[in-house]
C-alpha cells in the first residue's frame, strides 16, 4: 500500500502516514526495549552485542523477505524451514565431497536446489489450485522427510567443512561480516525488484485484488508461481549460509523456522490479507524479534519462554494492525462522502 500509486489521493495520504507511523512505532518500541535492557544489564549496549544481533537476524531477514512477497500475494509458505534444512544438508555433503569447490559456486548450487523446491510449491499452488497453507504444510513434511532420507543418520561436523566454505558467512573482507552484507544485498535487491520491475508491481496488484489484476491482464498464476520460486531461491541461499554459519548440517536444521519468518514480516506491518508490505518493515520487524530474543537471554529469562513471547508478539501485531486498518477504512469512507 505504501507504494500504491493506483490509490486515490486521500487514501494514499492516509496510507503513507499509517505505514510511516507503523514503522516509527516499531522503531520506538525497539528503542524503548534497548533502553530498558541497557539499564538492566551493561553488556547489552555494546558494539559486540549489536553485531551479534545483526548476525542472528541476517538469515531471518533473507527468508522473511521471501515470506513477505508470498504473504503479499495472499499466500503463505510454511515449507521454508524444511527447504533450508534440505538445501543445507545437500550442499554441506557436496562441499565436503569436493573441498576445493569455490564457496560462491556452493551458494549458486544452493540457490538452484532451492529454486527447484520452490517451483514444486509454485506448481502445486498456481497450477494445481491447492490452497497455499495445505500445499506448503504438505511439502513441509515431505522436504523434512527427504532430509532424513538423505542423511541416513549421518551429519556433517564443523571440522569436516573446508575453511573456504566456513568463511562464506564469517569472512570480513569489508570489515562487516559477509553474512550481514548478504542480508543487506538481498534487502536492496528485493526493494528494487518490488518497486521498479513489472513482476514486482504485479505482486502487489495480485495481492490487492486478484480479480482486478486478472482483468488488467496480469497473469495471476504466473505471478504466484514466480513468488514461490523466489521463496525457494532465497531459502536455498539461506540454507547455504546456515550451513556455513553454524558449521554443521543436521536433520533438525531450521526446524520450526517458518514461524519466525512469518513473525518478522507480520510484526513489521506486512498485511496478512495481502496487498501490502515493505522491505524496511520486514527488516525492522526482524530486528525487533532479534533484539527481544537477545534481551531475554541477557536478562537471564529462561530460553523456554522465547517461543511463547514470539507467539504473543505475532498476536499483538496482528490485533493492532486490524484495529488500525478498521479505523482507517471508516475514516476513508467518511472522507469520500
Amino acid at each position: 500500500m505504501v507504494i500504491g500509486k493506483e490509490r486515490t489521493a486521500t487514501s494514499l495520504g492516509l496510507m503513507s502516514i499509517l505505514v510511516r507511523f507503523r514503522e516509527v512505532g516499531i522503531l520506538f518500541f525497539t528503542v524503548l526495549l534497548i533502553i530498558v535492557v541497557s539499564i538492566l544489564s551493561p553488556v547489552f549496549l555494546t558494539a559486540h552485542n549489536f553485531r551479534d544481533i545483526l548476525l542472528n537476524i541476517s538469515i531471518l531477514v533473507i527468508v522473511g523477505l521471501a515470506q513477505m512477497m508470498v504473504i503479499i500475494t495472499r499466500g503463505i509458505d510454511l515449507s521454508v524451514g524444511s527447504m533450508i534444512g534440505l538445501v543445507a544438508m545437500m550442499v554441506a555433503f557436496t562441499v565436503v565431497a569436493f573441498p576445493g569447490m569455490n564457496p560462491l559456486f556452493a551458494l549458486l548450487l544452493g540457490i538452484a536446489l532451492g529454486a527447484a523446491l520452490g517451483s514444486l510449491n509454485g506448481a502445486i499452488i498456481a497450477w494445481g489450485k491447492v490452497p497455499p497453507i495445505i500445499a506448503t504444510l504438505g511439502t513441509l513434511s515431505i522436504y523434512r522427510g527427504l532430509v532424513f532420507l538423505y542423511s541416513r543418520g549421518d551429519w556433517i561436523n564443523s571440522f569436516e567443512m573446508p575453511m573456504g566454505f566456513r568463511q562464506l558467512s564469517k569472512g570480513t573482507p569489508l570489515v562487516i561480516p559477509n553474512l550481514i552484507l548478504f542480508a543487506a544485498a538481498v534487502a536492496i535487491l528485493v526493494f528494487l525488484f518490488l518497486r521498479y520491475t513489472q513482476t514486482g508491481r504485479d505482486i502487489y496488484a495480485v495481492g490487492s485484488n486478484p480479480q482486478a489484476a486478472t482483468v488488467a491482464g496480469i497473469r495471476v498464476d504466473q505471478v504466484i508461481f514466480i513468488v514461490y520460486v523466489i521463496s525457494g531461491i532465497l531459502c536455498g541461499m539461506a540454507g547455504v549460509l546456515w550451513a556455513s554459519r553454524f558449521e554443521s548440517a543436521q536433520t533438525n536444521t531450521a526446524l520450526g523456522f517458518e514461524l519466525q519468518t512469518v513473525a518478522g514480516p507480520v510484526v513489521g506491518g506486512v498485511n496478512i490479507f495481502g496487498g501490502s508490505g515493505t522491505v524496511i518493515g520486514v527488516v525492522l520487524g526482524s530486528f525487533l524479534l532479534g533484539t527481544i530474543n537477545n534481551a531475554l537471554t541477557i536478562v537471564k529469562i529462561s530460553p523456554f519462554w522465547q517461543l511463547a513471547v514470539q507467539g504473543l508478539l505475532i498476536l499483538l501485531a496482528v490485533i493492532v494492525d486490524s484495529a488500525i486498518l478498521r479505523r482507517l477504512q471508516t475514516a476513508t469512507k467518511q472522507g469520500n462522502r
Binding site: 555433503f93 565431497a97 538423505y150 486478484p210
Partner: protein, 369 residues
C-alpha cells in the same frame, strides 16, 4: 487465499450435484484403498490380522481421531483449519503434568487441563469470531504461544509417575480379554455424538450453511459468530482431551508432546473427503480416512520406516487428496488441455526438467560420501 475460496465457492454452487457424486465415489475410493493397504499389510506380516495386534495398533491413533472430530466441523463450516490443536494438546498435557508434579490430585489436574483447553479454544474463537482476524493467522500465532507455554511450564523436564487409574485412559482395556482398548471406545462414542450432531441436528445444518455461503447464512439468521466461537472452544476441549489420552498412553508428559500432530490431523480430515473449500464432507469419510492413515502408518512401521520418512507419505497424501478434485475439475472443463499455449507448455517442460535435475542431484550427491 480469500479470492481462491470465493472462486471455488461460486464454482461449487453450479456443480453441487456432480460434487455429491464425487463424494459418494470418494468414500468408495477410501474403502478400496483400505482394502488394498490391508492386503499389503497382511503380506508384510502374517500376524497382522490377529485381534490383539490390531487392537494394540488402534490405540496409537485414538488421539488423532479425537482431534479430527472438531477439525472436521471447522473445515466444513469455516473452510479453514485450526493450526493450534497440537499446541493446545501440549500445553494442557504439560499443565496437568505440572500440577500433578506439585502434589495436586490427578483428577483435579485433569479437570484443570480440560478447562485450560476450553480457555485456549475460547481465545482462538474470540479473535476469529469477534476481532474478525483470519483463523489461519490467529491459530499460527497461538500455535507458537501455546506450545511456548508448554515449554515454559515444564522446561526440559518430564512429568511422570501417573497413577494407574489415569494411565488406563490411554493404555487400558475394557473387559478381561485385553482386546478392546478403552480409548477406542471413548473415540467411537465421541465420533458417534459428533456424527449425529453433524448430520441430524440444526447445529449440523448451520455448519454446512456457513460453509456454503457465510453471508447467506448470516442473513438467514444463523448465529454465525456464536457457531464459530463454539467450534474453536470445542476444538480446544477435544485437543486437551486428546492430550490427556496421549499423556496416559505414554505414562509421562514432555513439553514437546504431540509436536507436529496438527499436520496428520489436517491430512486425515482432508483425505476423508472434507473439502478444504468448505461446505461438504461426511463424518463417515473422516472415520474411514482415519482408518486408512492408521493402516498406512502401521504398515510402514512393519517395513521399519522412520517416523519422519512416514511423514513424506502423509504429506504426499495431503497434497494429492486436495490436488485430485482440482485436476478433475480442470479436465472436466472442455478443451482445457487443447487451450494450452506455447509458453505454458514451455513452463511445464522447464518445471519437469528442474524436478528431474533435482532428483538426479539428490541421488548422486549422496552417493559421494
Amino acid at each position: 487465499m480469500a479470492a481462491t475460496h470465493s472462486e471455488t465457492r461460486s464454482a461449487r454452487h453450479s456443480r453441487r450435484v456432480s460434487l455429491r457424486n464425487i463424494l459418494v465415489r470418494w468414500e468408495l475410493l477410501l474403502v478400496v484403498l483400505i482394502t488394498v493397504v490391508t492386503l499389503i499389510n497382511i503380506q508384510q506380516s502374517p500376524f497382522f490380522l490377529k485381534p490383539v495386534n490390531l487392537s494394540r495398533a488402534a490405540r496409537d491413533f485414538m488421539e488423532l481421531g479425537i482431534m479430527m472430530l472438531p477439525m472436521t466441523y471447522i473445515i466444513i463450516a469455516l473452510a479453514t483449519v485450526d493450526l493450534s490443536v497440537a499446541s493446545i494438546m501440549g500445553m494442557c498435557a504439560s499443565f496437568m503434568g505440572l500440577l500433578f508434579m506439585n502434589g495436586v490430585d490427578i483428577w483435579i489436574a485433569v479437570a484443570a487441563a480440560l478447562a485450560l483447553g476450553v480457555a485456549a479454544g475460547a481465545m482462538n474463537g474470540f479473535l476469529v469470531a469477534h476481532v474478525k482476524l483470519p483463523a489461519l493467522v490467529v491459530t499460527l500465532a497461538t500455535y507458537a504461544f501455546y506450545r511456548g507455554m508448554a515449554y515454559a511450564m515444564l522446561g526440559d523436564e518430564a512429568a511422570r509417575g501417573y497413577p494407574e487409574s489415569f494411565t488406563y485412559l490411554g493404555q487400558g482395556f475394557i473387559g478381561d480379554g485385553r482386546i478392546i482398548p478403552f480409548s477406542l471406545i471413548l473415540f467411537l462414542a465421541l465420533a458417534l455424538i459428533f456424527g449425529v450432531v453433524l448430520h441430524t441436528t440444526t447445529f449440523g445444518r448451520y455448519l454446512y450453511a456457513i460453509g456454503n455461503n457465510e453471508q447467506a447464512a448470516r442473513y438467514s439468521g444463523v448465529p454465525v459468530d456464536r457457531v464459530k466461537m463454539i467450534l474453536f472452544v470445542l476444538s480446544g476441549f477435544m485437543s486437551a482431551l486428546a492430550g490427556l489420552v496421549l499423556a496416559a498412553r505414554f505414562g509421562s508428559t514432555r513439553p514437546d508432546i504431540g509436536l507436529g500432530l496438527e499436520l496428520t490431523v489436517i491430512t486425515a480430515t482432508v483425505l476423508g473427503g472434507i473439502s478444504i473449500s468448505g461446505g461438504t464432507g461426511t463424518m463417515i469419510g473422516a472415520i474411514l480416512s482415519l482408518l486408512l492413515i492408521g493402516l498406512v502408518r502401521f504398515g510402514m512401521g512393519l517395513m521399519n520406516l522412520q517416523g519422519q520418512v512416514q511423514d513424506i507419505v502423509i504429506g504426499l497424501l495431503l497434497i494429492i487428496s486436495v490436488l485430485l478434485p482440482s485436476i478433475g475439475r480442470m479436465l472436466s472443463r472442455r478443451g482445457a488441455l487443447s487451450n494450452l499455449n506455447v509458453s505454458q507448455v514451455l513452463q511445464v517442460t522447464l518445471f519437469v526438467i528442474a524436478m528431474a535435475l533435482f532428483v538426479a542431484f539428490f541421488l548422486w550427491s549422496r552417493s559421494l560420501l
